[in-house]
């Protein structure tokens, strides 16, 4: 009797294994995780296809796709055309988002504080140590800035957000580019590292006089005070979805190799300076139907999932970019 039960149980398990649809697995950027899981959930309800994406970080995604342990990856920092060729990968933008500096200075409302690129770099590099420093005061003549020490809150884990921010700072500040540089993880001269966007948001909320950087969704969900930045056109802009969209709209997607457009410090009157796209990676070596499934999923998501992306505080790709990507796919 026991033997029979055991047999039935094992048959059930085997049967369950055979019955599960051949799932597609992806990994990478944690930035894109919420919207990908939203799209995948709806996609599964409509087509029964399971596209499973997990966030382990952009670098992790790149490593895994090169080693072939996942079917597709997502990264905030695009690979160069050289790297794509070496590893037999196809790259395409998936969605656009932004990194927002946020602060906790008592009495200053969201978007009231104005900074420009050079000043922001000096703040993060701990060269400006008090909020009432002359350099900040000149940018904010009417604002009552307290004599409070600045605490920098950055990401402890390697992150695409760090990459985006440091990319921007390297562009607008020669000192930053020389001394610190741009990567998913850098050597911060001072400050505390928090784990994930949530950790950063948490530290900022509790440490008086702190400044850090988080994705737009976290700013909205946690009611944080964001900073207005001076963009390439010389205007001070607030981090809204429209301003992120403006930055993405001016980009030259078609002309860049591997579509590896970096959207920081884009021209445009209302462009938000710290915008960036998250890129998908596929292996040319994947079996044809796996890649076909991935392509169908993304084509569906770009069209049917655009509103869901906006609800989650992302900027969906404009349709002409989508069509360019799809025509690239056909030719590869």
């Amino acid at each position: 009797m026991k033997m029979q039960k055991l047999l039935v149980a094992s048959l059930f398990c085997v049967g369950a294994q055979l019955a599960s649809a051949q799932q597609v697995n992806g990994a990478g950027s944690s930035f894109i995780f919420p919207v990908l899981s939203k799209w995948a959930g709806t996609y599964q309800q409509e087509t029964k296809e399971q596209i499973n994406y997990q966030s382990i970080g952009s670098g992790g995604g790149i490593r895994q796709i090169i080693q072939g342990t996942v079917d597709f990856a997502a990264t905030d920092a695009p690979l160069t055309a050289q790297e794509l060729k070496e590893n037999n990968l196809v790259q395409f933008p998936v969605i656009v988002g932004g990194v927002i500096p946020t602060h906790n200075i008592k009495g200053i409302k969201p978007n009231e504080l104005r900074l420009d690129g050079e000043t922001l770099a000096q703040v993060f590099a701990a060269k400006i140590t008090f909020w009432d420093d002359a350099r900040i005061k000149t940018l904010n003549p009417g604002l009552a800035l307290p004599h409070k020490a600045i605490t920098v809150v950055h990401r402890a884990d390697g992150s695409g957000s760090t990459w985006m921010l440091t990319n921007y700072l390297s562009k607008v500040s020669n000192d930053w580019a020389k001394e610190i540089g741009s990567d998913k993880s850098v050597k911060w001269p001072k400050g505390v590292g928090a784990k994930g966007n949530e950790g950063v948001a948490n530290y900022i909320k509790r440490i008086d006089g702190s400044i850090g950087y988080v994705e737009l969704a976290y700013v909205l969900h946690n009611n944080m005070s964001s900073v207005s930045l001076k963009n390439a056109a010389g205007n001070f802009v607030s981090p809204t979805l429209d301003n992120l969209k403006a930055a993405a709209g001016n980009a030259d997607w078609a002309g860049t190799e591997g579509m590896a457009v970096v959207l920081t410090n884009q021209p445009g009157a209302t462009s938000w300076p710290i915008t960036g796209a998250t890129f998908g990676l596929m292996r040319l070596k994947n079996t044809a139907d796996v890649n076909a499934k991935i392509k169908t999923f993304f084509s569906w998501s770009w069209r049917q999932g655009a509103q869901q992306a906006v609800d989650l505080a992302y900027v969906p790709l404009p349709l002409n970019v989508v069509e360019k990507i799809e025509s690239n796919w056909k030719s590869q």
Binding site: G60, T151, D157, G158, S182, K184, V186, V192, R206
Partner: protein, 321 residues
């Protein structure tokens, strides 16, 4: 003839059964050796590029710069050692106290529920300690505990340097505190089992000579169990050195080496947890694994010291184990 053959065959099969069983169990025991060796080997192989690039300087270099490709373990090693030390300083007396209370002092009706409560603390997953530490403990520390300690001790001549820095609630001290809360039930349960093995006759003999309860504990129970007590502390230390999730959320993750325990720092395990998934580029990954190798060896050294101490104690006690 046939019966003798039968007896001989039976004896052979008996030996065969024993031979097989002994071989199988020995193989499993040796498998442990193989496993540790394999893990160590794997670490060495993966860390080799970093070992070649940095050599011994890796251990003394404080800088951790992924952009420039310069890596040093000093900040991580310092954080690991200091946070574990803080954890032990708190956990050793507390777990001893708890174990003594539960086995020698508490009235019978209290023993079961309090014992279960202590075990429950051990059952909580370490990631919960991390979250609770981040969302609940650190604000409390930042508002009440750290400013108080700073005001009380911050200006003392030598010791004061330990408590500098703005009270953010995160840092080596917070990590040490969370670690101690994790390690206390671990050590306490070993100690409880240990104290329960003390023969009642010894305790009664002590009472018979007129000792107070505390004297019985300090002069009979603890010396009887001192070998096991030291052993449990060393296991607790080993656990604290390697704990990842609970520490990562509250330590502040800054690759700096600071004498103040209120400043943020980092440990080897939390550096690994934070940066391993994202690390791209051979030298970065390999430096992280070099860190892992350092921790592995550090654990080895700590446990060897523990064993030596235990052997000396056992030798003094005249026993052999």
């Amino acid at each position: 003839m046939k019966f003798n053959e039968f007896k001989q065959n039976a004896a052979n099969s008996r030996r065969m059964g024993d031979v097989i069983f002994q071989a199988v169990t020995k193989a499993c025991a040796l498998f442990l050796l193989v496993l540790v060796f394999a893990i160590g080997w794997q670490l060495v192989v993966s860390a080799m590029p970093a070992i070649k690039a940095f050599g011994w300087d890796f251990l003394l270099n404080e800088s951790w710069d992924p952009v420039m490709g310069e890596f040093g373990a000093a900040a991580s090693i310092w954080g690991t050692v200091v946070s574990s030390l803080i954890a032990l300083i708190i956990a050793v007396p507390v777990s001893l106290g708890v174990a003594i209370f539960l086995t020698q002092i508490a009235p019978n009706f209290m023993r079961r529920p309090v014992g279960i409560a202590v075990e429950l603390l051990a059952a909580i997953p370490s990631i919960i300690y991390g979250f609770w530490g981040l969302f609940v403990l650190t604000p409390w520390l930042a508002e009440y505990v750290q400013p108080w300690i700073y005001e009380a001790f911050g200006n003392w001549p030598v010791v004061g340097v330990l408590f500098q820095g703005p009270p953010m609630g995160i840092g080596l001290f917070s990590a040490g505190l969370v670690l101690s809360i994790m390690v206390i039930p671990f050590m306490a349960s070993i100690l409880i089992d240990l104290f329960n093995t003390v023969p009642t006759q010894l305790k009664e003999a002590s009472y018979g000579l007129g000792s107070t309860r505390f004297e019985m504990i300090s002069k009979v129970v603890i010396p009887y169990a001192r070998v096991g007590i030291v052993g449990s502390f060393m296991l607790g230390l080993g656990r604290a050195l390697g704990e990842t999730m609970a520490v990562t959320f509250v330590i502040g993750n800054a690759h700096i080496l600071s004498p103040s325990i209120f400043e943020p720092g980092t440990t080897i395990a939390s550096t690994l947890a934070n940066e391993f998934s994202e690390a791209s580029g051979g030298l970065y990954v390999s430096s992280l694994l070099y860190l892992g190798l350092v921790l592995f060896l550090l654990t080895f050294v700590v446990l060897i010291c523990a064993r030596l101490m235990l052997w000396r104690l056992t030798y003094q006690a005249g026993g052999k184990r």
